[in-house]
Subunit: 305 residues, 4 copies
């Protein structure tokens, strides 16, 4: 396993202001995350609202982040597009801009079976000379879930360096951990399950990719350390606190999947002074009015603002 890619690796939020990416806010956010003790940064994930970014914006964000990070932690970049031919184009650009690893989506809009998906990852690995992570996020992919045996096989063969699991399927996650262990632990298995990081670390995850880590990086770092030393009661205590704050995502009832969650993160981050505005990329509208107040009330109770 490539140990550079373990621990807390938050998917970095993309700040917006007046319809454009706000790079000053991005700089502040990166600094905050690194000071918060994270072990790496993941660009172009769902929290980064990548689907809404043009290629030019994606490139500029990677470039800026790599410069700002200056090697202090590894930078993973999502290569998010419909099929391998297009993912490879995204990944090559990210590599040229200094990313340390690629996180590739499995095909979407396309309707593929598991053998085709395996070929997909093999092709990306052959074309792009960087550690490669598979991104398992069924909710965005018509419910498609990556096969455990395939992932371990690709790990053993050196095609994949790891998996970012946002499936919420614990049974398959635990089976992946066990099969990976049996195979000599080639894969770094990261969970996106930000509310159950304690449980996932207990059962053997190598790290976590918590979107909410943009709001509270330090507790995730503390949780990771508690887990490392086997203090599970403390790990749970920290996670329960995190979850009390995470309640913000349930305030925007009736908003779309992309507007509610990240919208609540950004609303607190704006109040914290990390980012200049809780604006989101078009056509997502920022939280405001009572919903915004509801989010901030939770953040205040949790002592975040």
């Amino acid at each position: 396993m490539d140990t550079r890619f373990t621990g807390v690796i938050p998917p970095v939020v993309t700040p917006f202001k007046n319809g454009e990416v706000d790079y000053d806010s991005l700089d502040r956010l990166i600094e905050l995350l690194i000071e918060g003790g994270v072990n790496g940064l993941f660009l172009m994930g769902s929290s980064g609202q990548t689907a809404y970014l043009t290629d030019a914006q994606r490139d500029a964000i990677i470039e800026r982040t790599v410069a700002k990070v200056a090697g202090r932690v590894p930078v993973l970049a999502g290569a998010i597009d419909t099929t391998a031919a297009r993912v490879i184009e995204q990944a090559k650009r990210a590599r040229a801009l200094g990313a340390d690893a690629i996180v590739a989506s499995c095909p979407f809009y396309a309707l593929n079976d598991m053998a085709e998906i395996e070929d997909h990852f093999r092709a990306i690995h052959e074309a792009v000379d960087l550690p490669l992570f598979a991104y398992d996020v069924p909710v965005r992919l018509n419910g498609k879930k990556l096969d455990t045996a395939m992932l371990v096989r690709l790990g053993t063969e050196g095609v994949l360096a790891g998996v970012k699991d946002s499936s919420g399927d614990d049974v398959s996650f635990r089976r992946l951990v066990a099969a990976n262990e049996k195979a000599g632990h080639p894969l770094a298995v990261l969970t996106g399950h930000e509310c159950v990081v304690d449980g996932m670390l207990l059962l053997g995850a190598d790290g976590c990719v918590p979107g909410y880590g943009n709001v509270e990086p330090r507790p995730y770092a503390d949780l990771w350390e508690a887990a490392q030393r086997g203090d599970w009661a403390e790990a749970r205590r920290i996670q329960d606190g995190i979850c009390a704050g995470f309640e913000i995502v349930f305030v925007p009832v009736g908003r779309s999947g992309d507007a509610g969650g990240i919208g609540s993160f950004k609303t607190v981050m704006e109040a914290q002074g990390t980012i200049a505005s809780n604006e989101m990329p078009f056509p997502l509208r920022a939280l405001e009015g009572e919903v915004k107040e509801g989010v901030l009330a939770i953040a205040r109770e949790r002592g975040l603002i």
Copy 2:
């Protein structure tokens, strides 16, 4: 309603050979379709396997097709990408290359609500000066179905010129036809329901977008004419014949959604001499062996080869 965009408008298959788009085959296919009596051509649809094409390939296909068609029928081009910012980039290039209309996907990978999707179409219309069709294809979009009232509202306001409905949801389709009628028929309502075109024309569709039309364009043209003169018994007779041939798509049991259907189309088209190979874009593998034989047996029984 813009009457240029009615009748039979097949989504054009993208021929491949030795890993590259096969433009000679594409030329033959275009000629065959126009001679077969179609009323327009739709590029960059699902039958075109657009998700597997790079931007460079998409551009080259549009350019070649526009040149070959030389104004004989209108050319509609799909602008398929995750969100409006990216769709607009696709659409602008298609316009510059000579497309007559744009067929825009609703957002995917993104998780939006209907208000955000409405903004999505408005933004594309404002940015690209061409007739705009909404592409309603829930099976590729996490089950998302476009709202009838929204579509008619956008038609009335001149944002949308039409809808390409591949939802298979007849109740909403009929409601769309009725609401469109009531609003003065601003939208050209096209069905992608290639096995029930007779029934859909009976209930008021303005045309069809049949992938299987790549294999048999002429019967669809005949069906359209029969429907125009109200000869529904003949329409059904033709459609039943088409459906006998369409059985080819059910032969590749256990293949992925993208490999089975288009794979069977291409297999017959290869045997017909329209295209040089039944090859598909990576990672889709061409049909072969018993499956290929099964497909060809049906085509032979139908007299296609």
Copy 3:
């Protein structure tokens, strides 16, 4: 094919009053349906809200209906329960009470594959000496859709007399019609697709099971006759009228699947004087207030009240 079970066979609504089944209203409804020209009655369907009825209520409704109908049209009874062992108990009671045919659900709550479902229907047929219909209603069955080849095989072997298709999947419906024809037409293929009966009859359905037929039986009978004589323009005209009335089901936005549709039927039926109350079985609440007014406004415009 058993021709007794063709034409218009509405699923009979179960009237309620003061928390009890209202048999006087049921009598009126039956009379209205028969006078309206229907060809049969289907008890214990979804429109009958069967899931909410105890066995004692189910029995009493069948008994009352059989007595009231007095042989004028055939009476089909749904045998709705989780698995064959339980369906058989329901079906035997229905047979003893005078039902002319059984409509059996495929297993639910249970998670079965198609081979198990085939055994399910065989067992019911062996145990109950009445014509047997398979009830294909995926929306209530975790999306499970009955296999076309299996249905035709069971028809050919005399296990099934017909299929009641409420799947809304036209491609499989047309394939069922074609395969049934090829096999000598053993099955009576009925559509539950009440808004597209014209199209479904055009493509070869043997009849329809329209829940909305409780509100307007006569137009469905007229539609059936127009189709029989090949007057498809008239069939469409009638269906368009029916659909204008069917808009009532879209008024109760935000109500549950079981409360909105049947609730709107009952609301018009109450206003028509067919049933004494628009009450529904616990825990479904009757439509009232603005929603009720909205439903009645449509019914008034259609001339139903």
Copy 4:
């Protein structure tokens, strides 16, 4: 919280032999479970294959179990039927036969919203004087997931004594645990997530309902005790061992949801001598041949046989 209903409460498998419930095997199984240290028994759950049992069989199983248990542990009985009217009939019979608590399904086949489901549970509580558990099992209920706030409200008001959560949704499970705690812990919150009991106990579950506990009750009892004393490393060690055995359920590839999992449990239980046969209720076929051998090989490696 009613502390009688915490700890390890396996859902009891229903043994079959020659097409009938095998009561001698049931007796042996009950004895084995109690000797294995379980804290209660849950009859008529999914592992009991309740959907396949007639009312007469359900009653006989409850009666036999209550007699055999003789008060040594509490007996919870599932009341599984489509709606409240029918669930109440099931529950009253279970109470008369000596069950200590009722586990009621939410409505199925029916299509209800959350307000109707809340009324459903209230009605059952009013009608049946026994502690009531809500059974949250979306995979059998068209994906329906019970609302956290509703569950806690019903706990606070004394309607519900607990929840049996088989949703696999950890985020909502953790939120339920937290909300229940905040409300004074009225509910016993049990997880059906048999592969992640360690993680679920870490985050605050009051117990577990593991189907695989029929095969290995003792490790679950040990896991519960380790968790009680805060020895999480040991809890994980035990759970990892359990999961190695649980791999049997992944052997029957391509079998239905109801045949594969319970079929593999029964196959090992037969080899262990607990039950006389691995037979399943019609139309489920017992595992045999290579699949059976594959299951037994895993059981042998785990030292179960």
